[in-house]
Symmetry: C2
Subunit: 415 residues, 2 copies
């Protein structure tokens, strides 16, 4: 049995946060039903796509789910979707959407059909206005401190020092989705103990704002009266940087804890140079803040060491001393060269998708020792499970299902 | 009552992932006990710090928790910590650590004290080797595609085109922490239904590897035979970019969905120019992929529009058409100018911390309509709750607690 076996969640969502929340719960064994319009949702063609226009993104973020296609412009289609969302069963009645919770998705209306419904509504901003990862990230300060001082985006025509560098990883979307997953399980726990369902609201911008507070960026402005500067690839408040090796590769080296710092000194033999520097500067590099103050000097000490060694040679010394480091890899290098990203890792299996092909597909990154893992599944084909859900969840007869197809209220698997 | 009222979680952890997991659950009402060595854990002095050396980071990531100080080098101290971790109660017996689960933290040993213990162990890599956010991020491809083509870190001496740009937001740590929170609630649900606790393992690098798969980056390499290029601040596969305004500010504009694209055209009046471009190129910009193909041309159309308007003027048009955009802000601007980051938002309150001062502090970004929110609390002072936990959780007498202090096995609030 998987850890969430039996729990049923319905989803009307698009893009990342909502779909990632339920994908993550499906990977723990939840029975997730994603409802989409007949032509697919807003994210159905989101890039990257195959040469035949199939979205690799959609396949990835919906894997392990059941796909149901309903004409949601029609009243009868909306009622079908509402019936799936509010179907009975103590393990059912959990719903997530990032669409406006109005009209047929209004919580009070849905609650009339199932009094203990748990519904999570992901918003852009708390006031209901739109926001995306990109328009949230720009507001919370990180693009202004990403990249080397003087770097930035020359194409935008601004001064290099202040040009923003956006992140490529949609970090806020992902964190929002996983926060919603946590919220749904918390609400389900509450319902099981006290009987009551409820509406959850989670705004994407609040996710980012809360993190800026949690990590001390707000306090840095309020208490210290200064905001973080742009430090390139240096790790703030400790020592860490990238280095180029003799064979043209790059490694990231981190000495955040004292143990990591001692290991780095041992591996690279800079101990004596560090001691001399400490004597001349009065710094004590066993303190992380002093390592940050001396970061440029440490960089200069270590650069020739890496430049004179291949990655393999550097790795032998670093691993021997248990220093903390990582190799920079492109996406291609990651896929082709890193055993952690291969079927050799229990995280992955090669999974075949009928319209895409075979790809290395992850299961949940959480191992539960006393429960069975859910093998990674392919993303569904749009409408693949329409009939199954109508028959099993709504208990319609096959004659009724056929009539819905005839009236083009629902659709089965796209051909 | 808060949504997780009653649930007790013990933490022996440091840095971000573990502390963020329990901070997030404490913000939902869980009773979280963080156990640290007498001098504080590895992260006790992590930057940013105040002028008096108090860690704003530690305060942020431990808010809402109880802090217990125990000399964990001593056998008697370790037994006390084990007793707290495995204390009875159906809502207790949940434990998280990012330390090696060996010695006194060995799961099998702890299980002998409480058979249904739930324990989450956060690892660097699946094989138990060390990894940090920085050394994971470099390996999974994002630094190679972040920043404008030709940007990168000149200090590292490499060719600009390939120099990596690290992220500043520790996105993998945060996502790992929230994944652990989801995992703990899933395991607690399972225990409540089936009686069994278990060991969870979550590797930081697996979090990143799984996301690279979920978002289609692995499939892009395997199916399309190509890896993502560096696209600066362009949104891949749609249209989005930053623009400078007449008053020297910058905005991020996104047109991912068709609705957002139409709104952007309406707001900026580029509809006719787009039509002419479509006729001459054969592109159809209602398709997101064609918008990406035409991104540089769209950029050129929009740049003068923004350059000729102040942010306020641009905002009026963009908001009027319901276009999706955001303002770039530094951390200072965020704190001083954005009402979303102020006590005007229900997300925040001004909270006083005895050794730091008053800071704008977030509560949980999840609103549960049927449960009371947990007001944002200050981070604890190290050892603030040692006696309370010994008395309430371990049911020691005040004489016994005093003896532990006398033997310097525990410590109270740091002065």
């Amino acid at each position: 049995m998987a850890i969430l076996s039996g729990l049923r969640i319905t989803e009307c969502a698009a893009f990342i946060a909502g779909p990632f929340a339920t994908m993550s719960l499906a990977a723990l064994g939840a029975d997730v039903i994603r409802i989409d319009p007949l032509e697919g949702g807003l994210d159905y063609h989101r890039w990257p796509v195959t040469e035949f226009g199939r979205s690799l993104y959609w396949a990835g973020l919906n894997k392990g789910k059941k796909s149901v296609s309903i004409d949601l412009r029609l009243q009868e289609g909306r009622e079908l979707a509402q019936a799936i969302i509010t179907a009975p069963g103590e393990d059912a009645g959990v719903f997530i959407t990032n669409f406006p919770a109005t009209g047929w998705l209004d919580y009070e209306k849905l609650k009339q059909m199932r009094g203990d419904l748990i519904m999570a509504n992901i918003l852009g901003n708390r006031d209901g206005s739109t926001a995306l990862d990109y328009t949230v990230n720009c507001a919370v300060g990180f693009p202004a401190v990403t990249g080397a001082p003087g770097a930035g985006a020359p194409a935008a025509g601004g001064p290099g020092e202040t040009a923003p560098v956006n992140h490529v990883l949609p970090a806020w979307d992902l964190l929002c989705g996983m926060t919603a997953a946590t919220g749904l399980l918390a609400a389900e726990r509450h319902r099981r103990r006290h009987g009551a369902g409820q509406l959850l609201k989670i705004a994407l911008s609040d996710i980012a704002l809360a993190v800026v507070g949690d990590l001390g960026f707000i306090a840095e402005v309020q208490i210290n009266g200064e905001a973080r500067a742009r430090h390139g690839n240096h790790i703030f408040g400790a020592f860490g940087h990238d280095f180029e090796t003799a064979d043209g590769r790059r490694v990231m080296v981190a000495a955040v804890s004292l143990g990591q710092w001692k290991a780095l000194c041992t591996a690279t033999g800079i101990g004596e140079a560090v001691m001399i520097m400490e004597q001349s500067t009065g710094l004590d590099l066993t303190h992380e803040g002093d390592r940050f103050a001396a970061r440029e000097a440490i960089l200069r000490m270590l650069t020739p060491w890496f430049a004179g060694r291949t990655v393999a040679q550097a790795a032998a010394s670093l691993d021997g001393a248990k220093a903390c480091w990582g190799l920079y890899q492109s996406f291609s290098q990651l896929v082709h060269e890193d055993p952690r990203c291969s079927p050799a890792s229990a995280l992955f299996a090669e999974v075949d998708h009928p319209t895409i092909g075979t790809t290395l597909t992850p299961r949940s990154p959480i191992d539960f020792a006393a429960c069975e893992p859910v093998p990674p599944g392919a993303g569904p084909v749009l409408g693949q499970h329409t009939d199954e859900v109508l028959l099993d969840v709504l208990k319609l007869t096959s004659v009724q299902v056929a009539a819905l197809h005839d009236k083009r209220i629902v659709a089965g698997m796209e051909r």
